[in-house]
Amino acid sequence: MPAVSKGDGMRGLAVFISDIRNCKSKEAEIKRINKELANIRSKFKGDKALDGYSKKKYVCKLLFIFLLGHDIDFGHMEAVNLLSSNRYTEKQIGYLFISVLVNSNSELIRLINNAIKNDLASRNPTFMGLALHCIANVGSREMAEAFAGEVPKILVAGDTMDSVKQSAALCLLRLYRTSPDLVPMGDWTSRVVHLLNDQHLGVVTAATSLITTLAQKNPEEFKTSVSLAVSRLSRIVTSASTDLQDYTYYFVPAPWLSVKLLRLLQCYPPPEDPAVRGRLTECLETILNKAQEPPKSKKVQHSNAKNAVLFEAISLIIHHDSEPNLLVRACNQLGQFLQHRETNLRYLALESMCTLASSEFSHEAVKTHIDTVINALKTERDVSVRQRAVDLLYAMCDRSNAQQIVAEMLSYLETADYSIREEIVLKVAILAEKYAVDYAWYVDTILNLIRIAGDYVSEEVWYRVIQIVINRDDVQGYAAKTVFEALQAPACHENLVKVGGYILGEFGNLIAGDPRSSPLVQFNLLHSKFHLCSVPTRALLLSTYIKFVNLFPEVKTTIQDVLRSDSQLKNADVELQQRAVEYLRLSTVASTDILATVLEEMPPFPERESSILAKLKKKKGPSTVTDLEDTKRERSVDVNGGPEPAPASTSAASTPSPSADLLGLGAAPAAPAGPPPSSGGGLLVDVFSDSASAVAPLAPGSEDNFARFVCKNNGVLFENQLLQIGLKSEFRQNLGRMFIFYGNKTSTQFLNFTPTLICPDDLQSRLNLQTKPVDPTVDGGAQVQQVVNIECVSDFTEAPVLNIQFRYGGTFQNVSVQLPITLNKFFQPTEMSSQDFFQRWKQLSNPQQEVQNIFKAKHPMDTEITKAKIIGFGSALLEEVDPNPANFVGAGIIHTKTTQIGCLLRLEPNLQAQMYRLTLRTSKETVSQRLCELLSQQF
């Protein structure tokens, strides 16, 4: 028997628990429980009023029964009664019962809230603590309504005890999470920030969580927390290992608080104030230095606590991505961990290095560890560690090491765990394509993939190899030869038959000259596989055969015989039968010319995002690797300043498969691509109507995204773990059309999916937007499209807001982003001579017509990028106009429905000062103003 503390003496409870534990069977247990429930019921119903102790004991028994997994349908009232007891133990059991068996019975909620109110007002710190914990545990909307005003007061009141403050901070955090609308910011916010300075480190620990969450939603309002967090962190990391007494854990000063402060700092960019920034850099350096010091204890707790802080510091360094020195040091530190004897550390080092690989500053440093990572792939015992090694190899891959990495991944694939094979296949396929210098290597790699892991090669992978072979004539002959050889293997994977069938059907003629691969040999080879294949593959092969009829007239009769056989013409499968009949007929009646036209070589596929990349994204869902891939791309775009390489918004859903292109296989339609035709059609939503529900504040980072669209029309506007919003737009004169793609990144349906366009009052009369509602359900992994027709009535400044609301797995999601419809989209470029330009420039010399801005360069000052941006902005770029060749001038006309406004612009870079001067002259002041604002953000 355990040592049940003597003091609390709930002997009846201990006996009951022992009885239950001694039950030999489930039936005996149920019997014992029913007996107890009957007993408790009779006590509660009995005439004799129960004393507090008995009530506590019975409520506690009920709770125990509930936790065993049985339903409890009474006793709530007694539990509520306990709340108003003056004894701590009785109150505690009451609150515990309420917290565990949350009940939405409105009558009880009123009573519970009343009891909580009394305890909050009691000035008894123990009772206040119990009440706050109850609110934090239940966190219902009713509670938020009742206490969202009171809790902040308790939190910032001068006379509140420290332990109550801790509870109040986290209680408020809970209320803010459940009902942010009920927790208005107020006077208390600035005082909350100052809790970072509190003497009691427990208060700081609790408050930091609260501030971090609030700062994520309201970064401006909590900006001051940055410097306070830095100085608090600095005091902790520089303290001696015993300074913080209670808060030192195995010789590490306040590790959890340090981690939280470092996370808070990750809500913000690097501090602007040089002093704060310097101090933070010092802190980070100190943390990195400490990692090199000999450990103060051999205990794993010591090293774990120390490394928890170290890893969080590295996350911050990566988040800032601005100090090359720190990034490289972080990378070296992680490099040491890669060979550490603790599996945990090796795992975390691989994971963390994966994000470092995407920084331009540390990418090279990460690459030096390639051999260690490859070794990890071969030797690690824990599959999750090997998985991280695969991720890291993928992240560090570039042109210089692609061949080695792909080869290693392929060889690992032979023994890889089944759970991660498909993902590795996708990664190999992507890398092979991305870094293929030599397309023969690419074809070999993919065929190897099919050979090694054919079952895990998804359709997207073999579609892609066909797309590429068709689009590159230099590799077609090699591809035909290689698939022909691969097909010789006695047992080859069906996916290989598909690729082989398709490629020989298109390019078999390129190897037909060799008697070893004459048309008849090719045909016989393929046909030897035919009967072992599934229906879709056989259908594909039938198409190959009819293509052979066109390519090689000498095998026509052989093929006609095959088509004519009963097993084809009378095949039970409708699709196969139909093909056999039609192809046979076609080969008989059509003239050579018609045959040649119908069966012409496939035209090149339009360039689009790799269908495999889309697949990997879909598969990985909201995982880090996917995000990485995106950030990497985004960054490279930023660095080069060039136009986005491919509209990233397309996904598998919008990429028709090549097999559909060729065969029209009647495969399932590629995911619902758009809204179903709604009743009546042409039903325009009133896009300007006020939305009934509250609109979310703009998503963090949406302004950056917005700015990126000023000079381009396609790309990803918004992305979080659940949802991706892509845009494609086109503009002509004063009209435009925007395609918005909403991609569900999860595997769960979005319900009540409602995007709404909101124009501020003033904008409504200036910009005309029309759209149709989209289907309210978005399936997991699917993408829906919405078209917005745009008309610019007169010049405008603000941007419309796109608000999206939907339900995901029971939670309500609300996202708002600015839609990048900006005035410059309605630009038409105008070419003119130097003379014309300066003549017009002078005509627009009225001071209201000119707006000038002098600003610091935010990006490297590269002439070509600048030119591309000015062209992307919409104006013509006029060469040899400005006497100073370093300057850029542009001209264009803004088209609105009411007027046309001529615009001239001049951009003067100053390389020494890293500054620009931008001047805009237009016939309308507001236009000059707005265009200057928009263009200034771009450099």
Binding site: M1, P2, A3, V4, S5, G7, A14, I17, S25, K26, L67, R87, Y88, Q92, I93, L96, H133, A136, N137, G139, Q166, S167, L170, L173, R174, R177, L201, G202, T205, A206, L214, Q216, K217, Q245, D246, Y247, Y249, P255, W256, K260, R263, N304, A305, A308, F311, E312, T343, N344, Y347, R381, D382, S384, P622, S623, N720, Q721, T746, S747, G809, T811
Partner: protein
């Protein structure tokens, strides 16, 4: 030296118990609860203490789940952690999240957090919690958690609240617990 010692009798009965076998099965679960580092979600989604047979000794939920979902999560967590050995990491990917866990004698202490959260910080938060339990119950064992389940909730609330770490100082937590004990 394990902090929690496990009475022999206990293991035998529970490993052979009917329910224990049922609980060890993994049910496929299709639904995902919302994942993101976004601020609407607590850092800790839940804390579970389970024994090797899959019996729950403590379940603390920081998000709304219905009872079926809770049961499913409990079973899934048990299935993923019990197959791992000392050569494995203390972290397991779990749906869109991760479980940070550590085993003490026959008990698994598991914390479910967001994939971006700091693994080692939560791993040591578990240990910190276990040391407090050990001190409070004077060499804690599994049965202490069974018979004093209502006190364990108090310990949890002192150290973790609203899915966040509330207090990390063992001295402060124990002082508060002793003070509360004295009120009984």
């Amino acid at each position: 030296m394990p902090l929690l010692r496990l009475p022999r009798r206990e293991t035998e009965r529970e490993v052979t118990g009917e329910r224990a076998e049922g609980a060890a099965q993994c049910l496929p679960c299709l639904s995902h609860f919302p994942s993101s580092s976004s601020s609407c979600c607590p850092q800790i989604r839940f804390i579970l203490i389970q024994n090797r047979a899959g019996k729950t000794r403590l379940a603390k939920w920081y998000m709304q789940f219905d009872d079926d979902e809770k049961q499913k999560l409990i079973e899934e967590v048990h299935a993923v952690v019990t197959v791992r050995d000392a050569k494995h990491t203390n972290f397991v990917e779990f749906r869109n999240f991760k479980i940070i866990y550590r085993r003490y004698a026959g008990l698994y202490f598991c914390i479910c957090v967001d994939v971006n959260d700091n693994n080692l910080a939560y791993l040591e938060a578990i240990h910190n919690f276990v040391e407090v339990l050990n001190e409070y119950f004077h060499n804690v064992c599994e049965l202490d958690l069974v018979f004093n389940f209502y006190k364990v909730y108090t310990v949890v609330d002192e150290m973790f609240l609203a899915g966040e770490i509330r207090e990390t100082s063992q001295t402060k937590v124990l002082k508060q617990l002793l003070m509360l004990q004295s009120l009984e």
